[in-house]
């Protein structure tokens, strides 16, 4: 392992795009949907990067592209400066997956109900030959302890239905960590969990970021949780990044109309239902139109404040 400087990205997306053929679309006209459009993203060691947006904004597609579950239509994926776009070779793909792991939203669906927790963790250890066979059990226990599932030996013998939602998501995280990845792509890892146990998972992400120096991509529509764990925030709207920068800059002084809209949608106990400001879809369209949002007008990301980029009309000079 080479000593990687903090600033150098581990995983990079360069001008990543993905279109899906959808036949006759919902509105009748378009034949292909550009789910991800020219996305640039850098994930760094020991950093949590949040990708936020509403359903259908393309954020999950980005995770699947980076996880090589989909192939990009255009653009490149770089793992430690090496081009990994569209690798087909089984050995290379296995190697890629041992570096880049995915965690999904639904901890109920992502575990096999007839296999024990221990089995779920031992399998990646064996497939990727992380440790010699006689050390697999010890490693399983160590992983369970890492994600706070104790007593580890007892938990390893349990089956998914014996665990709560939060515990299951911890198993999913332990499974992702089993292969000692450099990058973890977490797609809405807490949205199906009870509010009271979400913090536990978020704290675990913070801890793993520090201790294991993992580069996290945290995908969510919950801005408050993004603020809690992320160092950087990218806001995605209709397949494009519309704003990105340091978390506090983006969330405390947002530049793009869509980011502002997302912020007002978050439940805020002390403010009451703010019906005058929030005008729903029509308001969104109006607000975005006021900011010159038109999918046909060329736009580009401009650095309006140090490290804080926003999409504006016009092409880069």
């Amino acid at each position: 392992m080479s000593a990687v400087s903090i600033s150098r990205p581990v995983l990079e997306a360069r001008s990543l795009s993905r279109s899906f053929s959808i036949g006759t679309s919902f509105w009748g006209a378009r034949k292909a949907l550009r789910a991800v459009d020219d996305v640039n993203l850098s994930l760094r060691r020991g950093t949590v990067t949040a990708l936020v947006g509403e359903s259908g904004s393309g954020k999950s597609t980005v995770a699947r592209l980076l996880g090589q579950l989909y192939e990009p239509t255009e653009g490149r994926i770089l793992l430690e400066d090496e081009d990994m776009t569209g690798i087909r070779n089984r050995r290379l793909l296995l190697e890629y997956r041992s570096q880049v792991q995915l965690i999904f939203q639904d901890p109920f669906a992502s575990l096999n109900p007839v296999k024990s927790v221990g089995h779920h963790l031992a399998r990646p250890l064996r497939i990727h030959r992380v440790v010699p066979n006689d050390q697999v059990d010890a490693r399983v226990q160590q992983l369970l302890e890492t994600v706070g599932l104790v007593p580890a030996a007892a938990v390893a013998r349990k089956y998914p239905h014996e665990l709560s939602g939060g515990q299951r998501q911890r198993v999913a995280i332990a499974r992702a960590l089993a292969v000692q990845p450099k990058v973890v792509l977490a797609d809405e890892p807490i949205s199906m969990l009870d509010v009271s146990i979400r913090l536990g998972i978020l704290n675990l992400v913070r801890e793993l970021k520090e201790r294991e120096q993992i580069a996290f991509l945290y995908i969510t529509h919950d801005l408050a949780s993004a603020r809690y764990v992320a160092d950087e925030v990218h806001v995605m709207y209709r397949g494009r990044i519309v704003e990105h920068g340091p978390t506090e800059a983006v969330l405390q002084s947002p530049l793009h109309a869509y980011t502002k809209l997302l912020l007002t949608a978050v439940p805020q106990p002390d403010s009451g239902l703010n019906t005058t400001f929030w005008q729903g879809r029509t308001g969104e369209t109006a607000a975005l139109a006021a900011h010159g949002w038109d999918p046909d007008v060329p736009t580009s990301l401009v650095e309006e404040r140090p490290g804080h980029y926003v999409r504006r009309e016009g092409t880069p000079g």
Binding site: D194, V195, S196, I197, L223, P267, Q268, P269, W278, G280
Partner: protein, 334 residues
């Protein structure tokens, strides 16, 4: 009698007569008591929030009010009094008269409450004709109006559920729930599967409809931040019991139960200082083997051996009858 008059003077004008009252309601699944002697009242036109973690019994309450519990679930005791009439033990034919017409419900997963192979229109028409003797044409017309009320174009009547987004499907279900002008709407996690923007749209629409039509709402969710914004009054449920109940503002300003305070402290703030938060340690109790005494004591930072480990606290008025709490050591207001 004087005391009663005195008390009624304290009640704001917005509080109207009691519409639904649960009295000592208990529900059991086999040996497990999912709901354990719950008292809860909803006034006409009121939005009552019911919050708690998964498995605390909040959804069971909604299913019990409509008496659509799945076996082995059964009502083990108590009364469900709707407009002065106990619904427990009513014959199925009479219950059918009340369901949907007087009390309607929206479930969490709209996809599973709509029939995937039937057009939206036909689902509306079926629902109308099951309850009212009206022509198919009139039913279709009313359906189109209802869709527009929830902000969906009437053309979408011809759509199948899979052709609609998750938010639209949930709005279709809400439109159906309101179709017969019910007095009480039960909402069981109506927006949990949706993202914040769609959630906000739906809640806003619900609030407008509620203001116009004046129905009462029982809003069930684990997301307390949502409830504080949306409800008039909130009840907090833990392990089958109501542990705290107060007006939404009061509950937010001074939660007195350590569990309520823990729920409040589970939301990272969007503004202001950001510190490491711990939420509520531990997991909800196993209802097969609930803890002795106060059921929250194993997770409670304030629990003492005596009496918390031994005695279950009863729900009592804190300092006004509008703020009820079941805790031996209510938190002090700072």
């Amino acid at each position: 009698m004087t005391a009663l008059v005195e008390e009624s003077k304290l009640v704001p004008a917005s509080d109207r007569e009691t519409l639904l009252e649960l009295r000592g309601l208990s529900v059991a699944y086999g040996d497990v008591r999912a709901v354990d002697g719950v008292d809860l009242a909803i006034s006409a036109g009121e939005i009552l929030g019911l919050a708690g973690e998964s498995g605390c019994g909040k959804s069971t309450i909604a299913n019990t009010i409509l008496q659509v519990l799945r076996p082995p679930g059964r009502i083990a005791g108590g009364e469900i009094v709707f407009k002065g009439r106990n619904l427990v033990g009513l014959p199925p034919s009479e219950l059918r008269q009340i369901r949907w017409r007087h009390i309607a419900m929206v479930f969490q997963s709209a996809m599973s409450s709509l029939n995937p192979v039937t057009r939206i229109e036909d689902q509306f028409v079926d629902m109308f004709r099951a309850h009212q003797k009206i022509s198919k044409r009139f039913a279709t017309m009313k359906s189109a109006e209802l869709l527009e009320v929830v902000g969906i174009d009437r053309d979408r009547l011809r759509a199948y559920p899979h052709e609609l987004s998750g938010g639209m499907r949930q709005r279709v279900v809400i439109a159906m729930a309101m179709a017969l002008g019910p007095e009480l709407l039960l909402l069981d996690e109506p927006t949990t599967a949706l993202d914040v923007i769609v959630q906000r749209e739906i809640l806003q629409q619900l609030e407008e409809l509620q203001r116009e039509m004046g129905f009462a709402v029982l809003f069930i969710t684990h997301d307390l931040s949502l409830l504080v914004e949306f409800s008039d009054r909130i009840a907090i449920m833990y392990s089958g019991d109501i542990v705290e109940e107060a007006d939404a503002d009061e509950l937010f300003a001074r939660p007195a139960h350590p569990y309520t305070a823990g729920l409040m402290a589970s939301f990272p703030p969007l503004t202001g200082e950001l510190t490491t938060m711990t939420g509520i340690p531990g997991n909800p109790p196993d209802l097969h083997d609930p803890p002795t005494g106060c059921r929250f004591h194993p997770r409670c930072p304030a629990a003492r051996r005596q009496p918390c480990h031994l005695e279950m606290p009863a729900l009592r008025a804190l300092d006004s009858p509008k703020h009820q709490i079941a805790c031996h050591f209510p938190l002090e207001t700072p």
